[in-house]
């Protein structure tokens, strides 16, 4: 039986391969961009906008900072308590066009030792965890090999 692939959060990202991207929203009145998406109101205090359109965010950005989680996070992060904890890396990425920073997990196997502030990374589809019926999908950051 094939398992369903379900995004961990609906409508935060879409597409496959080269077409994968995070999905934000943009206010049609003031052009402010939001991620996580704002769908019913603009948060710019100088704007009364209530009409927001979905926009893909830049696929590439620069490392703003990075860290890792050496200890198992608490629920609702899903882990298998039977397995030893495998640390993973978190990367905060500066998107130039959107002028914002977006946090995400790095692709498995990337450690802080391989990263530097200013390095280029790109967003790729990834798997957060799997259970018997569902593969829960997410976004991950992967270094492109371009350094600061």
């Amino acid at each position: 039986m094939s398992r369903t692939r379900t995004p961990v959060v609906a409508r935060w990202f879409a597409g496959d391969g080269e077409n994968f991207s995070l999905l934000g929203t943009r206010c049609r009145a003031c052009a402010s961009v939001f991620f996580p998406r704002e769908d019913v109101r603009c948060r710019n205090p100088g704007c009364q906008g209530a009409d927001l359109e979905e926009v893909p965010l830049s696929r590439r950005g620069r490392v703003w900072s990075y860290t890792d989680g050496r200890y198992r996070p608490p629920s609702p992060y899903v882990t298998d308590p039977e397995l030893p904890w495998e640390p993973y890396t978190l990367i905060a990425v500066e998107l130039e066009a959107e002028r914002m920073v977006v946090l995400g997990q790095a692709v498995p196997g990337v450690t802080p030792a391989e990263l530097a502030v200013g390095m280029e990374v790109e967003v790729v589809p990834g798997v957060l965890h799997e259970d018997t019926e569902t593969v829960w999908t997410t976004w991950q950051w992967r270094p492109t090999g371009v350094r600061a």
């Binding site: 609906a10 900072s65 608490p74 946090l103 502030v117």
Partner: protein, 404 residues
């Protein structure tokens, strides 16, 4: 001399009493710690609880319903006596908001004497979000989607400082060394043992580049202050009380471009340029403006050292030094006891561990004792002006300025 609020009203309130229950892991309920702190503060003020006209509780989210209505919970435990009651929550800034609520009631003439209490009984390990599936809650989302614990955010800030300002892990360790040395002298601190830089470096990595001894623990504890009008203090013969002159409780300004707990992304600065002043800097500046002083006037500062690296950030945000100069200020010894501006003479969160709703009140207790000259072995000679600063999740700034 009392500060003038501009319309002939004094803007100061007196700190008549300060009290704490020692921090630790005591395994009892938060009410017990809060009541012990409240009784200590009332005894320090020389007041009977029945003379208190208003009680303000700083809430805890970890005590069930009684925690959400902490003001009433403490009032009932102390014995109902008909006081006004208020309960406030602002995450780590809850205690400062409770103090501000009390202050405003006094300045508005609604109460002469207000008791402010905060206490917590913390779980072991990482703080975690409330239960249930809540995909609209950023705090739930950051755990569900990223597993991003509080220390991972501290790790991001620390790494950023290393890259941008050249801070080193040795600098971070020296913050712990400094604060642990002060904590040894504080009977209310949980950790009362000197720590060496080697011990920090040998402790387990939690969130690169921060190690266990760079990150504050979570603790049980309770703190309380008794505030009154200056007139009430005079009637009671307290001629020169410590006075609270400013309380800053500001939000960020859009677009907020520093990745703050518990957010997954910053605001975008594409449509509106980001402010030249960061959120944390605006917290302190608002307090300075209200008090009519500047960082050069400070004798002591208590800042929220959730991590060692974050203490260095606060030096800059409080204007104790320029941007990027926090580590230099530390290396010069300016923020150590005997330095130009001792920071966290209490031992800080490094020595206490965080008891969320009590912590901002505990900061004010320390400043009160410093300004009274009763901080014993921790005393900063001649302290006249103190500031406390912290930042609560979801956009709660807080800073308190006290003078004597």
């Amino acid at each position: 001399m009392a500060a003038d609020g501009g319309e002939g009203m004094t803007a100061d309130v007196a700190v008549l009493g300060a009290g704490m229950h020692p921090w630790g892991k005591w395994g009892r309920g938060f009410v017990e710690y809060g009541v012990a702190a409240a009784r200590a503060a009332l005894a320090d003020a020389g007041l009977d609880w029945r003379e208190v006209g208003s009680i303000v509780g700083a809430d805890t989210v970890r005590g069930g319903y009684p925690g959400y209505v902490a003001g009433a919970t403490f009032a009932k435990a102390l014995g109902w006596q008909g006081a006004r009651v208020t309960s406030v929550y602002a995450a780590c800034a809850s205690g400062a908001q409770a103090i501000d609520t009390a202050r405003v009631q006094i300045l508005a003439g609604r109460a002469d004497v207000v008791l402010v209490v905060g206490a917590d009984a913390a779980p072991k390990g990482f703080f975690r979000p409330a239960g249930g599936d809540r995909p609209d809650d950023p705090d739930w989302l950051r755990f569900r989607v990223l597993g991003a614990t509080n220390p991972t955010y501290f790790g991001l800030y620390a790494r950023r400082r290393m890259a941008v300002h050249g801070d080193t892990m040795e600098d971070f360790a020296q913050v712990k060394v400094k604060n642990a040395a002060s904590g040894v002298l504080n009977p209310y601190a949980r950790y009362r043992k000197r720590v060496t830089a080697e011990e920090v470096a040998a402790s387990a990595m939690v969130a690169d580049p921060l190690r266990l001894l760079d990150i504050c623990a979570t603790s049980d504890g309770g703190a309380a202050v008794v505030l009154s009008s200056m007139e009430f203090a005079r009637r009671r013969g307290v001629v020169d009380p410590v006075r609270i002159r400013a309380v800053s409780t500001v939000t960020p300004r859009y677009p907020s471009t520093v990745l703050d707990l518990p957010e997954i992304a910053t605001d975008s600065a594409v449509a509106v340029a980001s402010a030249t002043e960061t959120f944390r800097a605006s917290i302190a500046r608002t307090a300075y403006d209200e008090a009519g002083i500047g960082p050069e006037d400070l004798s002591v500062a208590e800042v929220y050292d959730l991590s060692t690296a974050l203490e260095l950030q606060w030096y800059e945000d409080l204007g104790l030094c320029g941007e990027g100069e926090g580590a230099k200020l530390l290396r010069e010894g300016a923020t150590a006891p005997g330095g130009r501006i001792p920071v966290n003479s209490s031992g800080g969160l490094a020595s206490f561990g965080e008891a969320v709703p009590a912590q901002a009140i505990a900061q004010v207790c320390e400043v009160t004792w410093q300004l009274r000259g009763t901080a014993e072995d921790r005393q900063v000679p001649g302290a006249r002006v103190g500031i406390t600063a912290n930042q609560g999740l979801f956009g709660h700034g807080s800073a308190v300025i006290a003078v004597r």
